[in-house]
Symmetry: C2
Subunit: 631 residues, 2 copies
Amino acid sequence: MPQKLTTMQRPVPSDLAISQSAQTLPIVSIAEEAGLYADELEVYGMHKAKVRLSARDRLVDAPNGHYVVITAITPTPLGEGKTTTTVGLSQAIGAHLGKKVFTCIRQPSQGPTFGIKGGAAGGGYSQIIPMEEFNLHLTGDIHAITAANNLLAAAIDARVHHESYQSDAKLFERLCPADSKGKRSFSPVMLRRLAKLGITVTDPDALTEDEISRFVRLDIDPQRITWRRVLDTNDRYLRGITIGRGANEKFERETGFDITVASEIMAILALARDAADMRDRFGRMVVAASRNGTPVTADDLGVSGALAVLMKDAIMPNLMQTLEGTPAFVHAGPFANIAHGNSSIVADEIALKLVGSDGYVLTESGFGADIGMEKFFDIKCRTSGLVPDCVVLVATIRALKMHGGGPKVVAGSSLAREYTAENLDLLEAGAVNLRKHVENAASFGVPVVVAVNRFPTDTDAEVELVRRLAQEAGALDAVTSDHWANGGAGAVDLGRAVIAACEQPSDFRYLYPLEMTIKEKIETIAKRMYGAAGVEYSSEAEEQIDRYTRSGFDRLPICMAKTHLSLSHDPDLKGAPTGFIVPVREVRASVGAGFLYPLLGTMSTMPGLPTRPAFYDVDLDPETGRVVGLF
Amino acid sequence: MPQKLTTMQRPVPSDLAISQSAQTLPIVSIAEEAGLYADELEVYGMHKAKVRLSARDRLVDAPNGHYVVITAITPTPLGEGKTTTTVGLSQAIGAHLGKKVFTCIRQPSQGPTFGIKGGAAGGGYSQIIPMEEFNLHLTGDIHAITAANNLLAAAIDARVHHESYQSDAKLFERLCPADSKGKRSFSPVMLRRLAKLGITVTDPDALTEDEISRFVRLDIDPQRITWRRVLDTNDRYLRGITIGRGANEKFERETGFDITVASEIMAILALARDAADMRDRFGRMVVAASRNGTPVTADDLGVSGALAVLMKDAIMPNLMQTLEGTPAFVHAGPFANIAHGNSSIVADEIALKLVGSDGYVLTESGFGADIGMEKFFDIKCRTSGLVPDCVVLVATIRALKMHGGGPKVVAGSSLAREYTAENLDLLEAGAVNLRKHVENAASFGVPVVVAVNRFPTDTDAEVELVRRLAQEAGALDAVTSDHWANGGAGAVDLGRAVIAACEQPSDFRYLYPLEMTIKEKIETIAKRMYGAAGVEYSSEAEEQIDRYTRSGFDRLPICMAKTHLSLSHDPDLKGAPTGFIVPVREVRASVGAGFLYPLLGTMSTMPGLPTRPAFYDVDLDPETGRVVGLF
């Protein structure tokens, strides 16, 4: 039975202090309580375990639990406590309302932990613990992605290098060397390339000269390599770099590094059904174009099997626990921007089987509902086939006031008085943002519960106003929650509302069918989710759309890359703007992950460090050896 | 009791096939058998565990076991089976001769695993298992180094960036912001910088304007940043790069990536006594010079505590097992070239306590005895204070014939007939190399046992000749071993010889005292270990030696960076050359690790991928999900 692992103190201590004071349970106990068998675990220390996908196989005939997605209104730059709400709500349902529950959240990037942001394990008395393990290496999944992503990158440049000075015959000799008996053979990954080329011969010695040439020469255009390298570090000086400046290289080219969570490999980890599906998706990733425009894939480079080997442990979800001893999966964390921003399908699937028909799986989607929730429904649920039962939409009085015209909210600066004193006018004006998100969520046919994440300065009148407006907008219920200060006990009302909502019939439907054209899909999202009047395309985007359509990529879902700070493409448009035209600068393809992503602005894919990075406070306590200064 | 975990087959299958067919024991059983308590373990899955340093504390008063270092003659590019011998000898001593034993080896870089080299877990029936876990992520130590190394790199460029446009006052405001009560404070790491500057004030508001300026402005010269970024990937196009080419950066500069194991952080991991010592060493690392020539350290950048936090798990040695169920520590793997090439001190220390006075710890040093063994004695043993009892010098008939004038040995090409048929003349001529290494080893006052790692093509007459010549050169014994084909059973004679050697008195002494000048130390190593007639210094090296001497770094030991393919600095000089002059191109300082490293040639610190990288064979078996194609 879940239990409170810490004693509450006032004022609420730092997240790290709370986490470190908790009587964490052995992860094997959490696993056993969750219904996992010992041979389904790969334990990593006392407080983390990987869970084998065989648990899902074992439970294939068991009924799924209720599937709840946690999302938010358009946030301020400070964030509105979505993870904290997800965790607090889990604690309420599991430790206070006696239901089986599972929290499914994303693994955070380590980069921002040392940069400007601090930890991402929830906060206050609603946390995943131990928070330092959550925020640091965890079980190494992101490191595995870094390794896989960069092996692929190295393979691309090395291939261009080696093709540049060798004849077709020499390349063939190297790629398919004769063994001691003079016999040549293809490795299995080579057969994938041959199949793609329409060459059915499996004996290397039977290839014609033309077939040899087509097989060995990828003829990658160095100017059309789209695959970038990654690091899980905020390193802005790597955003744009020139490589190949060593003394013995054959070419130089411009490229750069992204933060690891922006890698397509991360997006694939979150969407893959199992190791075999993951491996196939890796193979399909398009990383470059040849000089004649042919897309070049990881399979063409012969590296897709090695990527799968590097990622074979990463596909197992990571089991941790909340402060009240309920189980949590922390697994995958694709960028909510250029990717779909949702934790893994496999974690949700295992969790749904484990909690069973009377249980609840709470899964968090990134950014606001216009981004993370829409992608949850149209990409993640479409890929998994899972049907959601309830949307929890997190709102704060602070963010609503901002949407009503309140002063700009800036991270690191103190809040204006509008945000700390009662102001019903600003709040009512800003509720248009909440209304739009409630309507959006409801349009998917799923019941919506609004969670007002209450801050100490919020007044009863303010909270009451939000509740009324939310229900007027179509929310099934709207409930205040103060889980940050009070843990699960603070979210019991919210828990009851969510349980009630899950009893409602869900009439889930996607926003668009895949059969629509690329432009129809983009316009459906822009108009119906964002409130846009229309979409305009750059000539580059037009050309890309044509090309993807010809290549058959037009049946993929759309993963819009846009700011999370507005319902529109313009971060300065607060509230619920209308009448704007969404500009599509560029459309890129993540063929392995299985989506196209239109860019509606300049998306930074590599954060930087501020003048005083968060790492200034981080250290090991010389007395105890424990981590200090992580927030 | 250790036991055979696999049944031997003929012909000997691939390393991976042997490893995967083994009945691996649970790592908790290996740990218990080794004398570890459950609360001293952090288990990572079934077959790996980290061991807390508290085990060493618990056993502080226990006697140490016998300490045996495994090294080799000057190898061919194929390597002469040093790791395989280390493992096979362990299996003999532990599983056949009934002694407590521990194998301590380095964690291999993942880069070469996918490049040209394949695995590094030993081979045949003398392996650390599971070999795919050994060769891939293990428990993430190398990934942690990548993360730490690159956080420091990002911190350097970000600091230059932020100093470039802000006044001293503004920087101070950012670095020591006032809290809500208007109070400023220094973080602990800032106090380290203040102490270095001789500023004793601990209240930020009490600093003079001049002190503020000295405190906040590192004034790093972008052209004198020596810290490079790292990846655990063979990526030659990153050897030389231009960074800062993004649209919004303040400067560009030339730099590059090394392979992760070349990071000074790896060298420190291998030498640190505990987390606190590691943290202090991180803080001392010199990463750049200011415009006026002042060395800039990780402490100055405020990042050393965060590096220690990233590395806090990495300092715990990783426990694995051999094919015959004896325990092995796999921990740290510094470059044997620009660093000292030995596994960690903490692993050896814990192992020596665990095996006790009647037990044996076998630790491997990198490259030939002129490099890895010399650094083992003069750097690793000097740092730890441990006294070695025996040197095992691995030799092969193949390498000795090469030293005697045999044809060039090239990786990937088939061996010339000289190496596969009896040729006593070549062998006898090449024995000069063996003799020099035996004499070198003996000069440290430690008994030497020569292990002839026997290949199937070696004849009895050849083996007998090597044995005789080795003993004439001063080896206590010289024993044939065929552990590759026969596991521990094949190394029983070698095991007996090592046990006997450990009964001999050891009169261990360093090659040079630290009080010698830098040049005296370099010349002692060059003349006495390599057989050089003298040393010549570039003007750059002269300048660096002067500078280090003025800075007080002249009391550090010397870590020569030279080719492993010759006793000299010239890879083409085989045998035991004399009369040559060693050129010192440059002398660099690893102040945190605690050594100076003279460069005797161009050392590649980032490997590349060949035309057909090893990754072409690596994949997941679609039926079983197991790794295939790792060699």
